[in-house]
């Protein structure tokens, strides 16, 4: 009568192994179109704050978009242009200034936790002076929009044709954390190219290519 026990043990073993396998698979992200992918970034940069509240133009920071294949994540020195002066949220800086005024002293520098990471990366001290012996290093942003290696998308062509950033990237100005809005699949690209061939882009005639080699080479 040992047979049923053995069978049961085996079944349990297989189930257990299956569960382990499922658990390990569940932790992995299987290949898909990555729509709504919104990874944690090394610095909690808010597009909502910059693009919506502060009404900054996209190409103020992503200035490469009109000149290169890539829109480009801005170099650290682009951030520093403003954040040399703005070291913390306005409220905190304002509160400190008022306190200092009341206590009749120089305001202390207020540096927010997130911006501190930027200054560290750029090897700047609290007074925005380069730290001796320390080299600025790149910030390791997590890439959100990622096409397969056999696809070549060019921002220049689309910016020149008058396609708005939001058309593909969605309402970035409302995103606290950047996420992939469109699915970036080939069908999605081709539909837009077909549509633009017929109706143009924002009323302007466009000449989008429907050749395979427009993107694949």
């Amino acid at each position: 009568m040992r047979q049923p026990y053995v069978t049961a043990m085996l079944v349990i073993g297989v189930l257990f192994a299956g569960a382990l396998f499922a658990a390990s698979v569940a932790r992995q992200r299987l290949p898909d179109d990555h729509q709504a992918y919104a990874p944690q970034q090394p610095i909690a940069f808010s597009h909502r704050l910059h693009a919506d509240e502060l009404q900054m133009n996209c190409q103020y920071c992503h200035s490469i978009a009109s000149e290169s294949r890539h829109a480009g994540i801005p170099a650290g020195d682009v951030c520093i242009r403003c954040h040399k002066f703005v070291t913390a949220p306005f409220d905190e800086m304002h509160a400190e200034a008022r306190r200092a005024d009341e206590e009749k002293r120089q305001p202390k520098p207020v540096v927010s936790a997130e911006l501190k990471k930027l200054y560290e990366a750029m090897a700047l001290d609290a007074e925005m002076k380069p730290i001796a012996g320390s080299e600025p290093r790149a910030i390791r942003w997590v890439r959100v929009h990622n096409l397969p290696d056999f696809v070549y998308f060019d921002h220049r062509a689309h910016v020149a044709a008058g396609v708005t950033c939001q058309y593909c990237h969605g309402p970035v100005e409302s995103m606290q954390q950047m996420e992939q809005f469109s699915n970036l699949s080939m069908g999605w690209c081709v539909n837009c190219h077909r549509d633009a061939a017929e109706h143009g882009v924002q009323g302007k005639p466009a000449n989008p290519s429907l050749n395979c080699s427009a993107c694949h080479y």
């Binding site: 299987l30 490469i64 790149a138 990622n146 062509a157």
Partner: protein, 1019 residues
């Protein structure tokens, strides 16, 4: 038979075996059912496993501080000077995201005029070579620069006090600044000397001018001024001195005006109204023992034994002297080895074109070169076609000094030896006494980039930068100063030779400062145009070169009596001829896999050197291709090499290339895919090829590359050369031909100048009218229609385009064994056809790549639509759709599709830096082929849209077109009637390959026109 049909009936063949009808087919692999199932099982499980990859998180790292003008993913071009050899061609180095990626020719450069050879373009791979030395070594161990400098300085101080002899051995140095640094370094010692040693030396030309003009100088050859060229074994289009410069100049008299075909005239416009354009071409005679690239392009090629040059020149000199009214006293000259009437004709031609002719000679024999100088002097060529006022500095080697150095070394007279840019011991005949003597030299320093033969014997190795990492200058011809600027920070802890010599002369100074100081003090004052040095310097760096008038001194021909060579050595034996190949000019390039895998333009052999023998000699000795033979010359140095049967070679000559069997090339043992049946890329000596330097003789003040009395013995072994000669045959084999058909029509077309003068369409085969079109004409080309025209009259077959394509399109290297299996991946195949007799064939070169057919046979058979037509006339290959059925390759009549049998991309992360990010790296199991550089088309189009301009003709250049030294390739929009390519398409010389198939290729060729009579062509 009318003459036109005669030419078309010419039979073309590609190897001696093919001509005689016994082509050895490679045996089919003996795969058993078990093997197959095993492999299939593995493949299935591997495919499953590799499919289970998680999508990785990717990062994007912007620069911390972005320099002005740097835009990510945009290529920037910097003017510089090529460091591949001493020719000093202009370079436009494409740098993207801080990485030098693509080397291109500089169109404004007065020497190279926009071309760049295979070697120059392959530099990028040399830069990203993980085998380069990463820092200074002492006794083979890593050390620091400070330590090296301190110790070397101390040793040198002692040397200077003891009065020891210091020798700096370099290859030709065209950089005036480096020359000054070496001179300053040597000035510290009582007996300091600079020895210039080129492995393939042109010392005899310089020495002969010392005799005839009183100055040791290499004249600048102005081939663009020469209309009658007689070349004696000077491979000036292939590997001699400055091939790109010479090709660009030679091509000037190969250009023919655009002429509409007769058929077009018939359509309304009467012929008389067309002013006939001037049609003129140079005449080029080549005397040579082996088949060189230059000989294959000559109008008349005459086989000559290497010892007969003197005799032929003496006859020519006598004949020309008779014209000049001078009598050159001569004893009875022996009968010339060439028909007297032919010699007379050549002498007459030279005399008629005096001042517009040129006699060139590549033989390293002073006696012969003096005759050449006499001949050029009698023909008034000094001045018009030979510039000695602005001499070339591209070859400066002094064989007498090298011989003296060897003598001094053996006599223990040398206390310190430094080598720069040349491997002293590899390139000299190995000699136990010399090696022992070198062992005894107290101070040995090598500045080699990689471990070479000498650096292994050297106490200190102080690696120099790669040319793309360093500041330097060059003066390739007098008065032309060019700048080499760094494209990337040094990748290792290397140091420029300029800095090393400065350091050892007591100055710690940066190379840029040395360079600027030299230019400020020596070059800037020689011009008046710019008064501010900073402006002068900035302009020079921006343009890459400056031209400065040099003080001209009149050189007088000082020697009026010529010593004629009355007799050739009456030998029946064999001669050995050592030469350098087009792709491997010297041993330093042997580490470059692109160059190793480049099929030789004439023999089409990759990855090896070989003993080239003529078909007659092979028959006489009972040799066939790939038989290993033992070659030995009197004193016992012997090498063993496989045989390659080469049509057109002299029957008493064995040709062997130098620059192979280089220490360190054992690294290529496993370069191809490693699988069950793979065989190593190296030979029995575990190196690539065999070093032929043991057969060079250094005696009587010259490096002798011609040896008489060679013994050739069969060893009985075989070594299969990987040759692409018969790969991808377009010819339909007789067994598979439909009954009654004659196989393919003519693939290449040619005519003669006289025929062409009478009828610009001469040489065309009968037209094939297509009454029935199988395809409906429903594919309009509304916008652009890309097309290409290749002028076979300009194309020399130099294969620069092939490396350009490889660099631009991430074409992988597959290794010797895979090439042997017909699996080379080059998108361009340089087809080389012979015609005529085996002993004296005519040669024609034809670049063959995807023809982008309008009715493409590949497109109709693809089951997954991975290859489709674009509405701009391109045949597109969509890698991500391809499943690898290979139907398309089977159905391609041009056999230009390449299949990825393996994942050729490998894990050498440094080498992968040379990959072009704009082109997909193809994986195993998919098909690829020429895309007409569609990434460049896209870039050009998008950039013009961004700037709101229309696409100008010539603003998009394919990689092959950009670098072609002869400018033989035109690319552009056929829908634009004003474009150069559209006009070339209407030329009378235009033909398409396999036009009778009605596939309507977008690539067309212009017929070759030979400046030769039909008798000479052997029709």
């Amino acid at each position: 038979m009318n003459p036109q049909e005669q030419i078309n009936s010419k039979q073309y063949w590609r190897s001696a075996a093919e001509r005689n009808g016994h082509v050895e087919q490679p045996p089919l692999p003996g795969v058993t059912r078990r093997d197959f199932l095993e492999a299939a099982g593995f493949a299935l499980s591997l495919a499953t496993l590799s499919g289970c990859d998680r999508a990785p998180v990717q990062y994007a790292l912007p620069l911390a501080n972005q320099p002005e003008g740097v835009r990510p993913a945009r290529m920037r071009y910097f003017a510089s000077t090529c460091g591949g050899c001493a020719a000093g061609c202009g370079l436009l180095a494409g740098v993207r995201d801080g990485r030098p990626l693509k080397m291109e020719g500089m169109p404004e450069h007065p020497l190279s005029r926009g071309g760049l050879c295979a070697v120059g373009q392959a530099q990028t791979l040399g830069l990203y070579d993980s085998h380069r030395l990463k820092g200074p070594l002492k006794d083979g161990k890593n050390t620091t620069w400070k330590e090296v400098d301190d110790q070397v300085a101390a040793e040198l101080r002692d040397l200077a006090q003891a009065g020891g002899a210091v020798r700096v051995v370099t290859s030709t140095i065209t950089s005036p600044t480096l020359q000054q640094a070496i001179d300053r370094f040597l000035k510290q010692f009582a007996d300091g000397r600079h020895v210039v040693f080129d492995p393939v030396s042109a010392s005899a030309i310089l020495d002969s001018h010392e005799q005839t003009h009183g100055i040791r100088v290499l004249p600048r050859y102005l081939l663009d001024k020469a209309k009658f060229i007689v070349s004696l074994d000077a491979d000036f289009l292939g590997a001699w001195i400055a091939p790109v410069e010479f090709t660009a100049a030679w091509k000037k008299w190969r250009e023919l005006p655009r002429q509409a075909s007769r058929n077009d005239h018939a359509e309304g416009v009467p012929t008389e109204e067309h002013a006939k354009p001037e049609v003129d071409m140079s005449y080029h005679v080549q005397f040579e023992p082996r088949m060189t690239l230059t000989g294959s392009n000559a109008d008349r090629r005459i086989r000559l034994r290497p010892d007969e040059f003197g005799l032929v020149l003496s006859h020519l000199l006598q004949l020309v002297a008779k014209h000049a009214g001078k009598d050159i006293a001569a004893d009875q000259l022996a009968e010339p080895p060439v028909a007297p009437a032919e010699l007379q004709a050549i002498a007459d031609g030279l005399w008629q074109h005096r001042g517009k002719s040129l006699v060139l000679c590549g033989v390293n024999d002073v006696e012969v070169q003096v005759l050449v100088n006499h001949l050029n002097h009698l023909l008034d060529n000094y001045g018009p076609t030979l510039d000695v006022q602005h001499p070339s500095r591209q070859r400066q080697s002094d064989d007498r000094a090298v011989e003296q150095l060897v003598t001094d070394l053996k006599a223990d007279q040398v206390a310190a030896i430094l080598s720069v840019g040349v491997d002293l011991t590899y390139n000299l005949p190995p000699d136990a006494a010399l090696h022992d003597a070198i062992k005894r030299v107290p101070l040995k320093i090598s500045l080699a980039e990689r471990h070479d033969d000498f650096s292994k014997r050297a106490r200190y190795v102080c690696p120099d930068h790669h040319p793309l990492e360093s500041w330097l200058d060059a003066e390739p011809v007098a008065g032309l100063f060019s700048i080499r600027q760094p494209m990337i920070n040094p990748m290792g802890n290397t140091r420029s030779a300029l800095e090393s010599f400065a350091a050892w002369s007591g100055n710690q100074i940066q190379p840029l400062d040395v360079l600027r100081a030299y230019w400020r003090d020596n070059i800037f004052p020689r011009q008046q145009e710019v008064t501010d040095f900073t402006r002068f310097w900035d302009r020079a760096v921006h343009d890459g070169f400056v031209q400065i008038a040099t003080a001209t001194t009149t050189l007088v021909f000082q020697k009026d009596t010529a010593k004629l060579v009355s007799q050739a050595a009456p030998l029946d034996g064999l001669f050995l001829l050592l030469y350098s190949k087009v792709a491997i000019p010297d041993s330093r390039h042997a580490h470059n896999p692109w160059l190793q895998e480049l099929p030789d333009p004439v023999t089409k052999v990759t990855w090896d050197n070989y003993a080239a023998v003529s078909p007659a000699l092979a028959r006489k000795q009972g040799l066939v291709d790939n038989d290993v033979v033992r070659l030995s010359v009197d004193e016992g140095n012997a090498i063993e090499l496989p045989v390659h049967v080469q049509p057109g070679q002299h029957d008493q000559v064995v040709g062997v290339a130098l620059g192979y069997g280089v220490p360190g090339t054992d690294r290529f043992a496993a370069i191809g895919p490693q699988w069950i049946q793979s065989r190593p890329t190296v030979g029995e000596n575990s190196l690539v090829g065999v070093n032929a330097a043991p057969l060079v003789k250094l005696a009587d003040g010259s490096m002798q590359y011609v040896r008489s009395g060679v013994r050739l013995e069969k060893t009985g072994r075989r070594h299969t050369l990987a040759t692409t000669q018969l790969h991808d045959s377009i010819e339909v084999p007789a067994s598979t031909r439909p009954p009654g058909s004659h196989g393919r029509g003519v693939l290449v077309q040619e005519t003669t100048l006289n025929e062409y003068r009478g009828n610009p369409s001469a040489g065309a085969p009968k037209e094939h009218p297509f009454a029935d079109q199988l395809w409906s004409d429903d594919h309009p080309y509304p916008g652009h229609r890309w097309g290409m025209v290749i002028d076979l009259n300009a194309c020399t077959g130099c294969s620069a385009c092939l490396i350009a394509c490889q660099s631009e399109n991430n074409v992988p290297v597959v290794g010797r064994d895979e090439v042997h299996r017909h699996r080379e991946m080059h998108w361009i195949r340089l087809d080389r056809y012979y015609s005529g007799s085996e002993s004296e064939p005519d040669v024609i070169h034809q670049p063959m790549m995807c023809q982008h057919c309008a009715n493409a046979p590949c497109e109709t058979v693809c089951p997954v639509l991975a290859t489709v037509h674009s509405n701009e006339g391109l045949n597109q290959q969509v890698y991500n759709r391809c499943v690898g059925t290979r139907y398309c390759a089977n159905n391609c009549p041009y056999k230009v599709r390449r299949f990825n049998w393996f994942n050729y991309a490998h894990d050498d992360t440094l080498e992968n830096m040379a990959l072009n990010p704009d082109v997909t790296v193809r994986v195993r199991g998919i098909m690829e082929k020429c895309s007409m550089c569609v990434q460049r088309i896209q870039e050009g189009r998008i950039e013009s849209r961004r700037l709101g301009q229309s696409l100008a003709d010539g603003s998009i250049q394919t990689a092959c077109q950009q670098s072609c030294p002869a400018g033989a390739i035109l690319f552009g929009d056929l829908n634009d009637p004003e474009s150069r390519v559209a006009q070339a398409m209407n030329d009378a010389r235009r033909f398409r390959v396999l036009e009778e198939l009605n596939v309507q290729p977008a690539v067309a060729y212009l017929r070759k026109v030979r400046n030769a009579t039909k008798e000479e062509q052997g029709v």
